[in-house]
């Protein structure tokens, strides 16, 4: 079982990404998946969480993810907002930032950085990092194929928008792969 926690702000689409990743895994990847948002009275602007569970076994347990394998952070300004809660030794943090170095000093865990906002801005004209983060994830964890993610993105939005986002994902993927 791979457990992923997404950090974003209400309105930034972190849950959309967690859900599309689940769709990619389950509809196109032959992997069982479950995705759910953090459920709360949070309003737009407030820090929010999303969760994805991936597993080769059927997933029947709906309880919370307390100790994630991956933490994906859509906006580095959220670092103070609980990013480091419940981390395991081998949790990987995937962070949208121009510069991951300072964060590496703050935690013992592996921190993978990617400037997803920049890529998104360049490709789509919008600073929405949510989908691009999947590219970074796919680069460090190969359970869900990039191919499957592309298909799931295509299912989720208009083809024109999807294509652009796929490009973002791809570019982020390669950038992270190279940096590894």
């Amino acid at each position: 079982m791979i457990e992923i926690r997404w950090h974003g702000r209400g309105g930034q689409g972190s849950f959309t990404a967690s859900r599309i990743l689940g769709a990619a895994a389950s509809v196109y990847g032959g992997i069982n998946a479950m995705a759910f948002p953090s459920f709360g009275p949070e309003r737009r602007g407030a820090p929010v969480l999303g969760f994805t569970k991936l597993s080769r076994e059927p997933i029947t347990d709906r309880s919370e993810i307390l100790n994630p394998d991956y933490v994906i952070v859509l906006d580095e300004s959220l670092w103070e907002e609980g990013v480091t809660l419940g981390l395991k030794e081998d949790t990987v943090i995937i962070l949208n930032t121009q510069n991951a170095r300072p964060y590496r000093e703050k935690v013992s865990q592996r921190v993978v950085g990617a400037d997803v906002t920049a890529v998104a801005l360049e490709v789509t004209g919008l600073p929405m990092a949510n989908l691009g983060m999947m590219g970074a994830f796919a680069a460090v964890e190969d359970t869900v194929a990039l191919e499957a993610i592309h298909k799931a993105v295509l299912d989720a939005m208009k083809p024109s928008v999807a294509q652009k986002n796929i490009e973002v994902i791809q570019r982020v993927y390669h950038a992270v792969k190279e940096a590894l």
Partner: protein
Amino acid sequence: MVKLNAKTLHNEEYFYGHKACGGCGESLALRHAMKVLGPNTFAALPAGCMAAVSFIYPNMAFTTNAMITPFAATGAVASGIAAGLEALGIDGTQTIGIAGDGGTADIGFQALSGAIDRNDDIIYLATDNEAYMNTGIQKSGLTPYGTRTTTSPAGKNLPGSVNQKKNMFEIVAAHGIAYAATASVGYLEDFLAKVAKAKETRGTSYIHVFVPCPTGWGYPAHKTVSLAKAAVDSGLWYLAEYEKGAFKLNRNPGSFTPVADYLKAQSRFRHLTEEDISRIEAARDAKWENMRRQWQG
């Protein structure tokens, strides 16, 4: 009484630290209503964004007495508070019910009507953001024609909401209420004055304030106040009062700003065609003709 404005208004806050979205128009209206009414206010809020963001244990945003009511019960709970305070001989207080458009025009309509019918000494503040926001932007009885909400989708077959906005102000006036008014957070001084007047009124008062919602309407948060003003300036909303059985228009502009400017600034209206917009303009003109004829006569 001193005219309330940005300069004369005191610095105390009685509604603070809530978890509403940044730029929430509804919270702006609440903030000022509480400021005018003061620390001895008992506020009763039904389910809705304002209740949801202000009473998240252990985080309490009201500094005065305040409570959440059942969604349908704003008027009744407020009545009960006022009656209880009166029976206990606790003077110098003010009871206000504060409900959204859904809580006012739909599920809380009956309890409001009952309170007016009894002429209980309460203020009822309807904060109208034209949809059920707390549950995620569903159509309410105050959602205007042509609005896209999550339960009035706009698409090939439907233009968004197909119902007219319920005319709460006139419905409440038809009850023969002691005092009623419409207001907008785009005209805050007017709003402050109306709350002050309601505070002075014995018996039931009703203020219907128009409050843009960046999240539900789809516009950047910094535009809340200017959009609220645009609604009035384009004639889609109006500032009026009902007192001693008579209506009064507080603003009666010679000309309107284009409704399209107002509508097109919001994603909930982005699908509207030129034709739709003309229809909306025609309805506006008819409404204003009526108001001018009947209320100014």
